[in-house]
Amino acid sequence: MTVLYFAQTRRLAGLASETLALSSPVNAEALWNEILARHPALAPLRSVTRLARNGEFTTVDTVFAPGDEIALIPPVSGG
């Protein structure tokens, strides 16, 4: 699984992307736990950051599979 970090999440994680070796699909809770274990500095952003899976916003039911491209989407500010 590839995880992409943008904007504040990129700055706080200190990297733009990384690979997570998942052995099986996980839900959002488990994915967040893995991400926060690697990057505790992201904890304050969790409540305002949405997860995208393969380029689409996820829902509470989304399952994240080992081959997915995941992105952390902190509050956007385009335009």
Binding site: F6, A7, R11, A52, A71, G78, G79
Partner: protein, 127 residues
């Protein structure tokens, strides 16, 4: 507030070719968002934008398609700049062509609201 008025017979030099011009187009509404010279009260030279680009393009398409369901329009063009955008230069340009102005205005305003909510583009820094 400055006001310039001109009423006369000269052809109006149109800003640029509209996204779609056919004989059914009666309205072109455009929005340009410019980098302002201050951010949170501090004077700046410009803004820096980044995007999750493929998802941003897909979200824009999704938003436009959704809004066009309620308000049929004839064409939409969206351009967003990334990287450094100096003060006074455009960060975003959106054009909507439609038969009548009401649907063009509604789409333009609705699009900008949703862009600022759902499209993964960020002002990440100033310079």
């Amino acid at each position: 507030m400055q006001l310039q008025i001109h009423i006369g017979p000269e052809p109006i030099v149109r800003p640029q070719p509209a996204p779609v011009i056919d004989a059914g187009v009666g309205a072109l509404a455009e929005f340009t968002g410019l980098a302002r010279g201050e951010e949170n009260g501090a004077s700046i030279g410009g803004l820096i934008y980044e995007a999750y680009q493929p998802m941003a393009e897909r979200e824009i398409a999704r938003i436009v398609t959704k809004l066009c369901g309620a308000r049929p329009v004839l064409g939409v063009r969206v351009v967003h700049r990334l990287g450094r955008v100096p003060v006074g230069e455009a960060a975003i340009y959106v054009a909507v062509v439609a038969k009548h102005r009401a649907e063009a205005f509604a789409l333009l305003a609705g699009f900008m609201d949703l862009l600022k909510q759902d499209v993964p583009i960020w002002k990440t820094d100033t310079f």
